[in-house]
Symmetry: C2
Subunit: 353 residues, 2 copies
């Protein structure tokens, strides 16, 4: 007979009634505060065990007006760097006694909003947002920040009078990646992965453009590729396809580039496949630089020159900034931090002995 209706879990009062004390006494035993005699304590604990009592967090948090829980919204968990971020955040939080709930929002504004709402609905004490920004989502995030919920954003734009932000210096990363190629003597340098969103928002592209201009290299629009049309459905590993297609397009140009800077490592990976397929050599025929230094980058053949952003540090700082807001209980002025990236030179741009 497996059709037993699930019995309702025991409450504090149930336990209290069984032992013959007031609910408050049981509460004291559970939470280990206030005075309780050893004798009573034992009787209560016995009943708690026997009745399989678990306290109701909803009720508790409602009364306490806090949850000791923080939410993290990430798009694209397929991306190893989201993963690293999440881990760093969790570690920092758990150290301070906070729990972390992660919500995934892969693609749409609708999912962003639903993630925000479900977290706020659970009265989390604060939120860290690391999704790609989009209009409707930002609007809701604004409301949430307005309503006094502590918010920190990571790796994306967002302006609000009480929201901290933290990000890698994507512009400079893009600049250095491109400069590295220029230093190696390249003049025709392509960019793969532009144009999903407002182009001026893509700092890596801006860095690329700036590096070219700085070195007096004329910008050739034909060398800048990406999916102009499809606005925002490029999660994780799927950007690989963009790299592949983009590189194919670049290779078919009358005068093809001798080097390419890809928006991220996955895109670079796709580009590598396309180059290999065309029977060309990396880096002799085409040098390639990626971005993010995902674990993949070390294991491609040739290994991938890429720009590492300090994900762990970003996660730590995000958590710390959020906790500061939570603890202060006040509305503080926003703080924005930008962290330096590091160029990691490997075989996809330079031949090792």
């Amino acid at each position: 007979m497996s059709q037993n209706i699930r019995r309702k879990p025991a409450t504090l009062s149930d336990v209290a009634a069984k032992v013959g004390v007031a609910p408050m006494t049981v509460s004291r035993v559970i939470n280990g505060n206030g005075y309780v005699s050893e004798e009573t304590r034992e009787k209560v604990l016995e009943a708690v065990k026997k009745m399989n009592y678990r306290r109701n967090g909803l009720a508790r948090n409602l009364k306490r007006q806090r949850t000791d829980t923080v939410g993290l919204v990430i798009g694209d968990i397929s991306n190893p760097f989201s993963t690293e971020l999440a881990n760093a955040v969790r570690e920092t939080l758990s150290f301070k006694g906070y729990n972390l709930f992660i919500c995934i929002s892969e693609q749409s504004a609708k999912e962003d909003i639903s993630a925000f709402d479900s977290l706020v609905d659970h009265n989390i004490d604060g939120v860290i947002v690391a999704t790609r920004s989009n209009e409707e989502g930002d609007e809701r995030l604004n409301e949430i920040a307005d309503s006094g919920v502590p918010v920190v954003v990571v790796g994306r734009d967002f302006k609000h009078e009480s929201v901290d932000s933290i990000s890698a210096d994507n512009f400079n990363g893009g600049f250095e990646a491109t400069q590295h190629l220029i230093d190696l003597g390249h003049r025709r340098i392509g960019f793969i992965g532009a144009g999903f969103e407002n182009r001026s928002r893509l700092k890596r592209l801006q860095g690329y453009l700036s590096a070219l201009t700085t070195h007096g290299i004329e910008i050739d629009e034909r060398l800048i590729t990406g999916r102009r049309g499809s606005s925002n459905e490029t999660p994780g590993y799927s950007t690989e396809a963009i790299g592949y297609e983009g590189m194919k397009r670049l290779l078919s140009l009358p005068s093809r580039p001798t080097a390419v800077f890809a928006r991220n490592d996955f895109t670079a990976l796709g580009a590598i496949s396309a180059v290999k397929e065309a029977g060309l050599l990396i880096p002799q025929d085409i040098a390639i630089v990626g971005f993010d230094d995902t674990p993949l980058a070390l294991h491609t053949t040739p290994s991938l020159t890429t720009v590492r952003q300090p994900m762990k540090l970003q996660g730590q700082l995000a958590a710390e900034m959020l906790l500061r807001r939570i603890d202060s209980g006040t509305v503080m002025a926003p703080e924005a931090r930008t962290l330096e990236c590091e160029l990691i030179i490997r075989e996809s741009t330079v031949i090792r002995d």
Copy 2:
């Protein structure tokens, strides 16, 4: 002056008072049920907007006795397959109007327990658990299941009279991987990555052993390697080191293996590095098989033969099974499902033209 104390958010009653109606009327407007005149509705909505009212989910859920939220506990989110699982779960749930909160528990039983507790404390409607099993964690999970919370476990052992489980057929996957090597003529076949936990629990190893025995190949303990000592701190990409060390040990044997089956793709990756470093060729000198078919496997050189487990399907099924339990509201007998794996043959075992 940024030292404004955070003002308390408006409540239903606040809004009601402002408009001059009963709280219940405001509740009706918010939830869109019951009768409310168009006139009142507009006045309420206006006040809601003006006061930046957000309903308190804790109070709501406490009253409604449900949260429409499901928890997922994963260890090791660095692993792409956890990621795929999480995504599949989320998709299936969101389709049914449920939210997903993900908790990470990287290593210790303590973290497992704290993840379980934080989810249960928020009165989630059910939990999916996909961490590696460990004694204390299982004990708490047992209590949770006992207390009537719907639970489904994925990819791990767990016995409870009302907990469903779902898993890939790791034994058979291990068997097929090994048989593939045997079919190719290999007789000295190593295993890398044994021994973190109770060895009989590692189904992939069991499959390996069984394949050897089935084909009359004697088992040579020296060919089975792993970290016997360190029990359970091998998150994600770090198993790569185990692969590297394990392979080095195997290569230094008087008569080294001609093929190796690695516990997972990361381990295989480490093994590949060690082989390359020793100046040997894959697969000519050493053939290598991994497990999981992570995105990496396609991009190693040579590309990696591996066993794919249907992560997406596991996620979908887990979510569906859990929802069935939640919806039924009864205590149902446990169901256990095992899904077939698929051997993906690539260049690390077979030379392509």
